[in-house]
């Protein structure tokens, strides 16, 4: 710790105190004004502490980071305990325990099955012991097996069958707006406007070929040479265009988040704008 560190710390403490006092005065007469003034100051301090990381890693960031880690871990633990253990599990395990937690007991002849996850949960905790660590693999097997089975069919449906069938689009005529009535009709109805027939068809072609080339890029067991290589090349181009576009598209949302914090600092904390 050198002198400048102390000076910075002192300035921060002073500003913190000043903000606390000013906010307390502004909130005088309200219930818990002192506490709330402290908390608003705290929130502003933590916001600035995180932003200071943009300059470089520093004591304030470390402070906020470590506090946040501890508080959030405990937050989720409390939530989990009250909502799952007390809210869901206890009312099915024992009447006495549910009475203790003031939860309505849910009687059912199948309640005994709820001891299984309790036993499995305890088996998971066995990992902390030296000799019974192997037990923790059982609950893990249950979780992984169940979700693997779940994923297997559900992704086959949503990411495979549904997606494949949605590539079946008309490339010569549009089903709803410009149905395929034969070549003569196609030529005589030719509509070159931006929302017209040709534009719709061009869109369908680009989508169709894009999907095919994209899939070709993801072939692993065939060398990407010749026609195959060229298609895979087009595939990666389309992927890159898409990634660039969605990067550019996301910027707007991220700036909105920043605006949210600016609003907090300048309106709620400093009161500079209304």
């Amino acid at each position: 710790m050198n002198r400048s560190t102390y000076i910075v710390a002192a300035v921060v403490v002073l500003l913190f105190a000043l903000s606390w006092v000013l906010h307390t005065l502004a909130m005088s007469g309200e219930a818990d004004g002192v506490t709330r003034a402290f908390m608003v100051t705290m929130a502003a301090f933590l916001t600035l502490a995180i932003y200071s990381f943009l300059y470089k890693d520093n004591a304030f960031y470390k402070l906020a980071e470590h506090l946040y880690v501890g508080v959030s871990a405990a937050y989720w633990m409390c939530q989990g305990f009250w909502s799952t253990i007390v809210g869901n599990l206890i009312p099915r395990l024992s009447e006495g325990a549910s009475n203790f937690f003031q939860q309505p007991y849910q009687a059912s002849s199948w309640n005994v099955a709820y001891w299984i996850p309790v036993i499995l949960g305890i088996m998971l905790l066995m990992r902390l012991t030296k000799n019974y660590g192997w037990m923790s693999r059982w609950p893990l097997a249950l979780i992984v097996g169940t979700t693997a089975g779940l994923n297997f069919v559900r992704y086959l449906r949503s990411d495979f069958i549904v997606q494949v069938s949605s590539t079946f689009v008309p490339l010569l005529g549009d089903k709803e707006l410009h149905p395929w009535l034969g070549f003569g009709a196609f030529v005589s109805n030719l509509d070159l406007s931006a929302t017209g027939q040709l534009a719709a068809l061009a869109t369908n072609w680009v989508v169709f070929l894009g999907v095919i080339c994209g899939i070709v890029y993801f072939f692993f067991s065939k060398e990407h040479t010749g026609v195959f290589g060229r298609a895979s090349r087009v595939g990666i181009w389309i992927l890159m265009i898409t990634f660039g576009a969605s990067f550019g598209y996301t910027v707007m949302g991220r700036i909105s988040l920043l605006v949210g914090r600016i609003t907090f600092l300048f309106r709620d904390w400093l009161g500079l704008i209304s």
């Binding site: 943009l54 707007m252 700036i255 920043l258 605006v259 600016i262 609003t263 500079l272």
Partner: protein, 292 residues
């Protein structure tokens, strides 16, 4: 040439500094930026602008507080535009938390309508907006598809009374207004699947002109309806709202938001361009050196 290399290897903290300065400045400063208006928004504005005094527009406020930031500005800009032109409005809310949104907008807009304003060079005297004469708020009913169908027969079917409990028959502006037939158009401002019902059950069956106000993420999937003519205009997200505000010459929250967005985007683009200029310049130098 050294400067070009500097352009390429600028410390990222300069990027951060400039970005925060520009964002804060454009957020606090009070000025407006031009907004690029797309035809699908312009068509909504010119439709409403061309309506004669006394015509009725139906506006469906079908969004919840979580879409407020994007959709509320549309409601504000559009309703004020109607009222300034002495066009009457009927409101409904087919989303559960919609009435709260509508209520808030009505209160704010009634206040601002009391003031004299000048839009697009036309002077508008402030006037009092009266419930039942300038607007009628029907309220919320569940099962939006059936409500939309019911209103196609008669507004009084799903809504015997308005939101405040007054029977529709005793509301002056609702005299002779039976169903969509007496409305110039319907404008649905929605953050969810109610839009689909308005298109298929409403526009599909009753054929009224329909325009949409949507959240940014939803917008892309509704463009086909614009092409097929089922919808005569679309406003997408904050961007769409800002365009309407621009057309109505009534800058509000959306234009404020777009101001920050525009300048922040320009800062990022500026840095990208700088990096590339530096990159190409230094590459040329390397090539020249290699030749020498």
């Amino acid at each position: 040439m050294q400067t070009f290399e500097k352009l390429m290897k600028l410390d990222r903290r300069w990027v951060y500094l400039l970005l925060i300065i520009v964002c804060v400045w454009s957020y606090i400063a009070d000025f407006t930026v031009p907004i690029l208006v797309e035809p699908e928004v312009r068509s909504i504005h010119s439709f409403i602008d061309s309506l004669p005094e006394g015509d009725i527009v139906m506006i469906a406020i079908d969004y919840d507080p979580n879409n407020l930031a994007e959709l509320h500005p549309m409601t504000y800009a559009m309703v004020e535009h109607c009222w300034r032109n002495k066009v009457k409005t009927i409101f409904t809310s087919l989303s559960q938390n919609g009435p709260g949104m509508c209520d808030q907008a009505l209160r704010d807009l009634t206040d601002s309508m009391a003031l004299d304003r000048e839009y697009n060079g036309v002077e508008y005297k402030g006037r009092e907006i009266v419930n039942g004469i300038d607007y009628c708020f029907l309220g919320y009913k569940p099962y939006f598809a059936i409500v939309i169908l019911g209103m196609g027969q008669d507004f009084r079917l799903p809504f015997p009374t308005d939101y405040y409990g007054t029977p529709l028959d005793s509301i002056p502006m609702m005299k002779g207004v039976i169903n969509y037939g007496q409305c110039a158009c319907v404008i649905d401002i929605s953050g969810g699947n109610i839009t689909d019902a308005w298109i298929s059950y409403g526009q599909g069956r009753f054929g009224f002109p329909l325009a949409l106000g949507l959240t940014g993420v939803m917008t892309a999937q509704y463009y086909p309806y614009l092409g097929s003519g089922q919808v005569f205009g679309i406003m997408g997200g904050l961007l769409g709202a800002a365009q309407y505000e621009e057309l109505a010459d009534n800058p509000g929250r959306a234009k404020d938001g777009m101001r920050v967005q525009l300048f922040a985007h320009m800062v990022i683009i500026l840095f990208i361009v700088m990096g590339n200029v530096g990159y190409f310049a230094s590459r040329r130098r390397l090539k020249q050196e290699g030749r020498a």
